[in-house]
Amino acid sequence: MTTTTPRPDAPGQGRTNLGSDAFAGSPDDPRVQLDRDLGVFEPVPPYPPRTEREAEFYTLRDGEMFLNMGPQHPSTHGVLRVVLKLDGEKVVDLDPVLGYLHRGVEKLCENADYHQAICYLDPLEYVSSLFCEWPGVMAFEKLLDVEVPRRAEYIRVLSAELNRVASHALFLGWMALDLGGLTPILWSFIERDEIVEMLAALTGQRMLFNYFRIGGVNGDLNHEFLSRLGTWMSHATEQIEAGNALLNENEIFVRRMRGLGKIDSKTALRMTMSGPNLRATGVPFDMRRAHPYSIYPELDFDIPTRAEGDCLARYLLRMDEIKQSLRIIDQCLHQMPDGPIMAKLPRLLRPRPGRAYAGIEAPRGQYAVYAMSDGTDQPFRMRIHDPSFLHLQSVGLMMPGHLVADTMAIMASLDPIMGGVDK
């Protein structure tokens, strides 16, 4: 994985057992050919730098080297390539290279009709699919001036908050896994599996639910879902606390995470971060309260914040959020009104020309869709705003000075999902 750049002023750099240095830097170099045959990625792009930043990044100073991480790497949460610039074992700078998972979802949505576009949104952040559908249907409902029935709104909040718990539980496991601990992910999958089974009973799918419809939801609550939910709710808090205790009371974990990847609130706002990563810096900014939507104004819950802005704060904050989600689920079950679950809408939707923006609080931050209609049955422009994309961008600010092994810890604490980053 390590590739060094041949530099005449640094003897020993770039020397391997594979060939003599007579070839250094030339395309006939057997090492280069071997790399090409194996599909190994060169960290330095094969063209001259095009921008100021690229020129600055791909220039090595004394003692520095490049390390290519990914695109296939167990700790990158998907297919991400990161070029690290190292000085010894310290990271000086990094350059994430995206696009390995790019599917062109926005273009696909612009060439599908309004109902079809919703199902393209699911595989974006595939561990919290309901939150990807939600801004999409909200934006379309705004375009169509549709009022969603109250019961449908309650079911949306209920299922989405369950999904949030599942997503945060998985975060806990992944984060520990990236730090080298195997046990927590097995524990968190117990929770996640139970929730996913529950949602499968409700929506018919385990992962890509495609459950929200323009004007409501696809199906009403059923017996299996409610009985599973009731059983789970009775011991959920206990079980999650037990899972947390594995990490919260683990001195190695806590000491490793404390003070790592620090970012302050001003910088976080300048980097347009949102969600738990912003709240971990002390800013109580939550879309559910900052720009209320759905039935959240009627529900009673807190917005936990932490002041430290490091990896530990981001981890602990998500654990606090799980508790608030459980509170919301409990209230939804108690206040669930009767009534229809779908608004009356024609099969073929042709909203009048206009623009609509809908942003929600997803487990990773502000998830938003900006839709434009031109009066036909297809969205004219569909912009998907993903928080992971912006969080991944700010890794570059948090990394300098930390060790190579901390790259994974910091990235894991931001919880990016490459499906959403690459769209």
Binding site: E52, H102, E110, N111, R270, G359, T376, R381, Q393
Partner: protein, 184 residues
Amino acid sequence: MDRAFKARLERRFEEQLTGPIRQRHDETEIRIAAGDVVPVITALHDEPDFAFEFLADLCGVDTGEVMQVVYHLWSPTTTDWLRVIADGLSREDPRAPSVTFMWKGAEWMEREAYDMFGITFEGNRDLRRIYMPPDYQSFPLRKDFYLADDAARSPGAGVRPMERTHPPREAPATKPVRRIGAGA
């Protein structure tokens, strides 16, 4: 809809607005020329009357006639989203000033808008392609770039006027000949 906010915007940005302020649901929309982006954004961010400190979204739009850069902003001073549309960028050479001086995090969103629409953001230090490979030539989200498999296009598509107040001058009467990758 926040009527008071609309009045405040009208008073403050009287000279910069290029069209009427529109309000619908929880959104307020203003249109400015691309050249006014820096003063307007700075005023919206810095003045305590507005205090738009959170950039919710930045994206490019191709209306088929002109290019636009659309900013969505959030502030505690109003219950509305503010949508700022930098209007009237030419399709041949779309240029807009970068807002990375205010929000460093806009850098990647501008890179994305460049990658998808070819909009050049002046002042962005790192305007490379972000999703498409570096040797890619065209801009996939432009309206003259059709999908290779265009089966999803419904028969209802003919004239696609963007907004009735601004009908495209040269909108084709029928579906134009498909040109794959004919961007730029």
